[in-house]
Amino acid sequence: MRGKHIKTVMVGGIFLCATPIMAAEGKLLATAGLSQLEGSGGGGLVPWATLAGYDSRDETAASLFITDVNVTDYRLTSMGVATSLYDRVELSYTQQTFVLPASLVTGLSLDSEEIKQDVIGVKVRLYGDAVYSLYPQVSVGLQHKQLDNDFVASYLGAKDDSGTDFYVAATKVHLGAVAGYNLVWNLTARATKANEMGLLGYGGPDNSGYQVMMEGSIGLLLSPNWVVGMEYRQKPSNLSSVEEDDWKDVFVSYMPNKNVNFTAAYADLGTVATQKNQKGVYLSMTGYLW
């Protein structure tokens, strides 16, 4: 089933490449950013203040994305759609599929090797333009998440199978800042109860209230089409039974035009649900429908 979804999105993506005239083109290339793991416009791990589309304030935009993170013992696939309205409001829906290693599946006698989670996102731009305004572009957003099955989460001691993250993000592009190359940075503060992004539930014996986590990204545009950078995402540790680490990655993105972008990253997720040293490859593609 999952394979079929992936194929559909891939075919959709190829179709997009072939039909460039449909896209909203009101923003400068690369300023739509990438698709974040939970479906918001951003970097890869971190939601940014920029919205998920090339819409200017007179246009709308829609996009779909697929991201696959393959680390030592786990695999996470994220697929979603996002729409951005008049460079003001972004709405997104994403389904995440987290695949557990066989050892955990048999160890816990689980019915399924997968944990699925739905994420609905809303983001509103409050101020500015990442490229042109004197101060950074600032947006606020929320991500409401719901697990399809809470067996693993409750087994580990999580309090809830759903939760809502709230964040404020600031993004700025500095033209010609580093030897003439454009520098982009983003800083996000997120109030969350989520364990491993919510895949292991919300809250736990160590803490069941909201905590504010800092997330950051920095990138350098090597050309109009290539960006390299790194990201960091601080995470809470609510479950005494399983240790949780901050996430980081280094990435390279290719944006040949305003219809599609591709990102490859090397991610270090630390310890995830008892398995140490979870490192691996992150691949992502966004296609812009219009």
């Binding site: 200017s56 490229v131 003439g180 190359y181």
Partner: protein
């Protein structure tokens, strides 16, 4: 042995020359990109880009292109630190009443980037020109 000594001396002199370079006064962006001929080439390419783009050309239908060319060259020369004086109207006055949308503004930036690329500017030089022009956006948009 003598060869080694020669090589070492040669290396040393190269290094000394390299040390001496940064102490020169930094050249302006205007000089770096090639001075007046490059500024004129960018302007001519830009006019060319505009004339082939129907979305943007409509803003220029009543424009005196000779005057536009002259004032644009002056402006770009001053912006990049060249030895010129701008004798045209303010950016606000020039763009007022045109109701330039954000979409068209960004499209025009793309055209200017094409014009700079054709004039031989590197990506880094293009970014530095955009950096000096960027603060003027407020006087151009939706006026």
């Amino acid at each position: 042995m003598v060869n080694h000594l020669k090589t070492a001396l040669l290396m040393m002199s190269v290094l000394l020359v390299a040390c001496a370079t940064p102490t020169k006064t930094p050249i302006s962006l205007y000089d770096e990109i090639g001075g007046q001929p490059t500024i004129e080439a960018i302007t001519d390419n830009f006019i060319d880009e505009i004339s082939f783009n129907k979305d943007i050309y409509r803003y220029f239908e009543k424009t005196n292109i000779t005057r536009f060319r002259e004032k644009f060259i002056e402006h770009l020369c001053v912006d990049t630190g060249g030895p010129c004086t701008y004798t045209g109207d303010t950016m606000l006055k020039v763009h007022q009443g045109q109701k330039i949308t954000e979409t068209d503004f960004n499209l025009t930036v793309d055209l200017l980037v094409n014009a700079m690329k054709k004039a031989g500017l590197t990506y880094a030089q293009q970014n530095r020109v955009l950096k000096v022009l960027a603060p003027m956006r407020g006087e151009m948009l939706y006026k």
